[in-house]
């Protein structure tokens, strides 16, 4: 399959990693990376961080140096939404915007997800979602003139937007539908510390509420909450998650379950059709998992490339997510949600590592401002505890002596 023609749909984290890796492992056939956006593949993580806060007009951070495509003979097609992927004799036929057909032996779907919007919100330029470079540019510009911001959702992107807006001097309030802020963070200690930092910066939280309706006026947005409260703001950011873009896979007949179902090698149920990144879901020991993190998207793109090149599959790396909020760095390696119980280590003010344990094995951690411990611990995830779990709370013993390598 070294000379198979490969078309990758979605020119972002997973797609660019797949294209780059295919060439790196010696794939000789044509590689085409097709993306709906007009911009060359860029990194999304800065969009809610430096792109919003930088004093100077920011530039996109390219996923690959932009001369990589030409130098590695990767055809980059931008502004080219793929409208269908169909089985054709021995391969696939893709349609770009209902006008152009391209043929491929192998297709990788790296279509990611779209920002979700609650039903009933009006179309108004003061109501933002944040997924693309274009979204970030619009939000950045608006933050420079607005005073009062409301952020809907305190997931990682909502929290980062709130922190960035606050750092820009806006008055910020965050609405969280769940009863606790930052519900996606497994560690209560981390949530508490983050909440304290947000409060110190004057960011307010309202929990257990949603938006009932939002009325644009000349002066701003009048937002009515489910508890009857009425707020007037200049700017609303909606950060309530994404919908995986599974429609091409469904039409091509691939099995989907809250994402396009893949195996360890990113193969879908249709031979020759792969999926990777935020769009891909996997069954793992009875659980359905779909990651929405940079490192996972990258690793899955690489895994798809290796499989296409016919290489032995290597296990996917331990998942790892990070988030930057004010001066905090949150890191979540592994799967803390799978824990039976946890152990907390607090080496210094605001520094936290919460170890998640299941079946006497370390399954994940939630860490605040502890980069070294995270690097060490990440290599031990999946390993069995040697002694008492309480030893994990000690800072004077290297982790390697407390947990066996997996």
């Amino acid at each position: 399959m070294r000379d198979a023609s490969v078309v990758i749909v979605g020119a972002s984290t997973a797609g660019a990693a797949a294209a780059y890796t295919l060439r790196a492992v010696g794939h000789e056939g044509p590689i085409t990376l097709v993306g709906a956006e007009d911009t060359a593949p860029y990194e999304r993580p800065p969009l809610s961080k430096t792109v919003l806060t930088a004093a100077e007009e920011p530039e996109a951070v390219w996923l690959l140096p932009t001369d990589t495509y030409a130098s590695r003979d990767i055809t980059l097609r931008l502004g080219a939404p793929v409208t269908s992927v169909e089985l054709a004799s021995g391969g696939f036929s893709l349609t770009i915007e209902d006008r152009e057909q391209i043929a491929a032996d192998v297709v990788v779907l790296a279509t990611g997800g779209r920002a979700r919007r609650p039903a009933g919100l009006p179309e108004d330029p003061r109501i933002h979602v944040l997924r693309t470079w274009a979204d970030a540019r619009a939000l950045r510009a608006h933050m420079r003139t607005a005073h009062r911001a409301l952020v809907l959702g305190s997931g990682l992107i909502g929290a980062e937007c709130a922190a960035s807006a606050s750092a820009q001097g806006l008055d910020v309030e965050v609405l969280e539908m769940q009863t606790t802020p930052f519900p996606s963070i497994a560690s209560r200690a981390v949530r508490t510390t983050l909440l304290r930092t947000f409060a110190e910066h004057g960011v307010r939280f309202r929990t257990g509420v949603t938006v009932n309706n939002c009325t644009p006026t000349d002066d701003g947005l009048v937002v009515q909450l489910s508890d009857g409260t009425v707020l007037e703001v200049d700017l609303l950011v909606v950060g309530i998650g994404i919908e995986p873009a599974t429609e091409l896979a469904e039409r091509a007949g691939a099995a989907t379950e809250r994402g396009v179902l893949v195996d360890e090698s990113m193969r879908t149920s249709v031979p020759g059709l792969y999926a990777a990144g935020d769009v891909a879901s996997r069954r793992l020991g009875g659980r359905l998992i779909r990651h929405e993190h940079f490192a996972s998207a990258q690793a899955q793109g690489e895994a798809a490339a290796r499989a296409i090149a016919g290489l032995e599959p290597v296990p996917l790396p331990t998942p790892w997510a990070w988030s930057d909020q004010f001066s905090h760095r949150l890191e979540v390696p592994g799967e803390p949600d799978a824990a039976d119980y946890t152990r907390l280590r607090q080496p210094g003010d605001g520094q936290i590592v919460e170890f998640s344990i299941a079946d006497s094995r370390l399954v994940g951690l939630t860490a605040l401002d502890q980069p070294r411990v995270v690097r060490e611990a990440r290599r031990l995830i999946g390993g069995r505890l040697r002694g008492s779990a309480n030893d994990l709370e000690r800072t004077d013993v290297p982790l390697k002596q407390l947990v066996d390598a997996p």
Partner: protein, 127 residues
């Protein structure tokens, strides 16, 4: 000879070509196997001890400029703390995404109990 913070001393003696200069990095005893540290040159340079062998590269990650010495050394691979790119400290090669560009590498030598590194003169001269 100019004293600089954190033990970066101009070792005098230039290699001539490319205007490199040997500087003292640290005492070899202060860099045990498996450890790394950064020298306060500008831009900073990192030195590594890989099982008794010394190596040196630029300390600035080619991805988004984090300091590699805040990361993690695993064998001859240094892992950046910011987004987990890895580099081979022997060759400077980027060995995993998100980095693709290599790190510049520098020669090292041991003089007595001193580890020395050959770096561009402009990186260690004032101003």
């Amino acid at each position: 000879m100019e004293e600089r913070a954190n033990g970066v001393n101009s070792g005098g003696e230039s290699t001539g070509a490319d205007d490199l200069v040997w500087i003292d990095a640290c005492l070899t005893d202060d860099l045990p196997a498996g450890e790394m540290r950064a020298l306060e040159s500008d831009p900073p340079v990192a030195v590594y001890n890989v099982e008794g062998e010394f190596f040196s590269t630029a300390d600035t990650c080619t991805h988004m400029k984090s300091s590699l010495n805040e990361g993690y050394l695993d064998g001859d691979q240094v892992e950046c703390a910011l987004h987990m790119a890895t580099f081979c400290v022997r060759s400077g090669k980027a060995t995993s995404l998100p980095a693709t560009l290599p790190l510049r590498t520098f020669d090292t030598r041991v003089a007595g109990n001193q580890l020395q590194v050959s770096v561009p003169r402009a990186w260690v001269s004032e101003g």
